[in-house]
């Protein structure tokens, strides 16, 4: 298994969105400290963290709604805070769940306003396409105050991607959606990432996003505790064996088996399962089972936050 966990802060220069040493304090109280990370074009980056970890503040900083005490945010190379409003041309975002709209206007009128403020050309066709894509055409001409929570969330996503942004930032995009809606949003986000959009989203639904996110940033206490790159799966194995402590020490000496670790009563390793199994049997260990050890992001997150 190639899942790697890194806390490094080095970042390729081609990041579509990059935060450098972001610090935010309210008075003397630190909310965020030294946040550095980047999202590459075509990458889905999920921000996870318990309530109060600073996710919302970070998203406000990344979208230019709030200003850091120190540090910078660059969007396609442009300084978000000193580059003027033009730096936000590449940005699409929903920073509240549910997304906020003018309740007396219809969904279509709200999107028309967004299109105007985003200086979008040929907006009528694009708005229609977006309404179809988000399955909102039937309610497009109803005032938003009559919309359900899920419809408002989908309209929020429509408003964020209407002008085809290159950087998309979403706060809890699937909050309030039914399973079908969640799956539709995931499809759309994956499709956008495939087209090269850098997607950053905050979420509590780690098992959901681990299906399509490329990287997960774990926030805790205002710090970026970890960045977990979700790579190819199925190359790590877990086995239950008699005398796991001795088996753990033994497997570390077996050629073709590496990164061996002891997890409670199980031994976890990477490399060849056949080589490990044959060596253990040869040495007289009783192997109860051996199975692929899928990376459990949720479990990892729980451990990481608990020890933060």
């Amino acid at each position: 298994m190639n899942d790697t966990v890194s806390t490094g802060t080095a970042m390729p220069p081609s990041a579509a969105l990059e935060a450098q040493s972001l610090v935010k304090r309210y008075g003397r109280k630190p909310v965020l400290e030294g946040i550095t990370f980047g999202v590459q074009p075509g990458e889905v980056y999920a921000l996870a963290g318990p309530n109060g970890s600073g996710k919302t503040t970070l998203i406000r900083l990344l979208t230019g709604l709030a200003f850091p005490t120190s540090g910078t945010v660059r969007m396609l190379g442009a300084d978000l805070y000193n580059g003027g409003h033009a730096a936000r041309r590449a940005l699409g975002a929903v920073v509240e769940a549910p997304a906020a709209f003018y309740p007396h206007l219809t969904g279509r009128q709200n999107l028309e306003m967004v299109a105007f403020l985003s200086e979008l050309q040929g907006s009528e066709t694009k708005i229609r396409e977006m309404l179809v894509k988000l399955e909102l055409l039937a309610v497009a001409d109803q005032p938003v105050r009559t919309y359900s929570l899920g419809q408002r969330q989908r309209l929020g996503l429509a408003s964020a991607i209407l002008h085809e942004p290159q950087v998309l930032i979403l706060d809890e995009p699937t909050s309030g959606l039914d399973p079908q809606g969640i799956s539709r949003v995931h499809e759309i986000l994956s499709e956008l990432a495939w087209k090269g959009v850098a997607v950053l989203l905050s979420t509590h639904h780690l098992r959901e996003v681990s299906a399509y996110a490329d990287k997960v940033g774990i926030l805790g206490g205002g710090r970026l505790l970890d960045e977990v790159r979700l790579g190819s799966k199925g190359e790590r194995y877990r086995l239950r064996v008699s005398d796991p402590a001795r088996a753990y020490a033994f497997l570390r000496t077996v050629p073709g088996v590496h990164n061996v670790s002891l997890r409670d009563v199980s031994v976890v390793f990477e490399g060849s399962p056949n080589a490990a199994l044959a060596a253990l049997v040869r040495e007289g260990y009783q192997v109860q089972f051996l199975e692929p050890d899928y990376f459990d992001l949720y479990e990892y997150y729980r451990e990481r936050v608990k020890h933060a």
Partner: protein, 255 residues
């Protein structure tokens, strides 16, 4: 910018405080014009419909209109904060100053709208008393209600219109101040409370004669004065100053 102003106007007239304010401005003249205790309270016997606007201005400019302007001006931006739409708008590649400039235009427009509706209500309420020429005064020109002789309908209308324009303009500093407080507190209630408290405080500060000429509350009755240049200049300086400060703060305000 025109499209944004049109949107902002649409939002302005949908605000509950604005609707209540305009309804009050339209209906209150009827209350004052036909109030049975009018003579006892003001020592006034209405002889012409042209005197109703003055009566309404004198009763409303003391507290009601400043209060309505403070509340509505705070709500112009505060409602966007509470609905969450301010964030949505600020995420777009549009400068912050452009949005706030449109809001400033609206809070300055509201007193004009309020006084215009009040004038309309006053004239309609004055119809039973007649709107022709009469011997006496409108209460808003030379000689107060007693006047200086015969006054034609045209002259009466000019006096009433001038007074209402002045009354609207002296409310501009308060409107800009309420918006400035909203930018600072990002809350309708806090901003309105702060603006109304400032209004009360300024009324109390008249006990310091050295300050009196600098308090904008000293000029709330400018509409009856015939010498308006100094007072009006000061009001405009206050309004521009508060608006400029709001723009400056809003540019780097955490939302």
């Amino acid at each position: 910018m025109l499209k944004i102003l049109a949107w902002e106007f649409g939002k302005l007239i949908r605000l509950r405080s604005v609707q209540i304010g305009l309804a009050a401005a339209l209906l209150l003249p009827f209350l004052w014009a036909f109030a049975p205790g009018l003579r006892g309270q003001y020592g006034l016997e209405l002889v012409s419909g042209w005197q109703v606007p003055a009566l309404v201005l004198r009763t409303s400019m003391e507290f009601l209109f400043p209060f309505l302007v403070a509340i509505a001006s705070a709500e112009v931006l505060g409602s966007e904060v509470s609905m969450g739409t301010l964030k949505s708008v600020l995420l777009r590649p549009s400068p912050r100053w452009r949005l706030l400039l449109a809001k400033i235009a609206m809070v300055l427009l509201y007193p004009v709208l309020l006084l215009a509706v009040s004038l309309l209500g006053s004239l309609v309420a004055g119809l039973p008393f007649g709107l022709g020429g009469f011997f006496g005064g409108t209460g808003l020109g030379p000689g107060d209600f007693a006047g200086i002789g015969y006054i034609s309908p045209g002259t009466a209308f000019r006096e009433v219109l001038r007074a209402h324009l002045l009354a609207a303009m002296v409310l501009w500093p308060l409107a800009a101040l309420a918006l400035l407080f909203t930018v600072i507190f990002l809350s309708t209630t806090s901003a309105a409370l702060a603006a109304v408290s400032t209004l009360f405080l300024m009324r109390l500060l008249v006990v310091f004669p050295v300050l009196k000429d600098f308090l904008f509350t000293s000029y709330l009755n400018l509409y009856v004065s015939q010498q308006v240049a100094t007072g009006l200049s000061l009001m405009l300086i206050y309004a521009v100053g508060f608006a400029a400060l709001a723009l400056l703060i809003f540019e780097r305000k955490d939302i």
